[in-house]
Amino acid sequence: MLIESKHFGKLEIEEKEIITFPEGILGFQEINGYVLLEEKDSPFFWLQAVDVPEVCFIIVDPRIFYPDYNPNVAEDILASLEIKDKTELAYYTIVVIPDDVKKMRTNLQAPLVVNLQKRVAKQIVLNQPEYPLRYFILQELERGGKNAGIDQKTK
């Protein structure tokens, strides 16, 4: 099927690629279907709404720069995503890149938890204070924070 996207124009996608968020994403509850698009040569992905071209999020697996990221996911959430074991879950966090790109940040408090096999997902809200709403990725990398994932050439 053909969809319109904000950044990539018309895209041909398969029905089976669509990831369903039964409750939508907070603030965008009316939108339930998204596709995952890779951003080449980067750990980032675009989460493009299938029916609404202007709604497109940049997301990332935060374990790239925060290897110990380990959200507590309640049993009933695992059940609603048809997951038996937490290890089958994929986590992505929504990224905000403001005008000052050095202040790029991601929401560790409300990750998207995804069952990639069944193509079903949910945004959950964590109660873990070590995972803030705004985690400043570049600033933390510079501090030699959670990992040594900074490209030496850019130093």
């Binding site: 950044h7 039964p22 409750e23 994403i25 907070l26 603030g27 965008f28 951003e39 040569d41 980067s42 750990p43 980032f44 202007e54 709604v55 497109c56 999020f57 940049i58 990332v60 790239i64 720069f65 009933d76 059940a79 609603s80 929504i94 990224v95 905000v96 890149i97 403001p98 005008d99 790109v101 050095k102 790029m104 929401n107 408090q109 409300a110 945004q123 809200v125 709403l133 705004r134 990725i137 570049l138 990398l141 994932g149 900074i150 490209d151 850019t154």
Partner: protein
Amino acid sequence: MLVLTRKLNESIMIGDDVEITVVELKGDQVKLGISAPKEVGIYRREVYLTISEENKQAVNTNLEALRLVKNKVR
């Protein structure tokens, strides 16, 4: 907004599937029990609002900005 008064252990139904019960009253705090289908999200209002707001900021990101920073994150 519909305003209803309830006593301890009384409930309110919203539609056929959501039930809210006054579980405990202690000083100026009310403890509410909420029964709803799995697909319905239940959040404290201020949490819901901050996360919605942050999500709305996120859709304003542009392609150019991502291309500028993507090499810095590995």
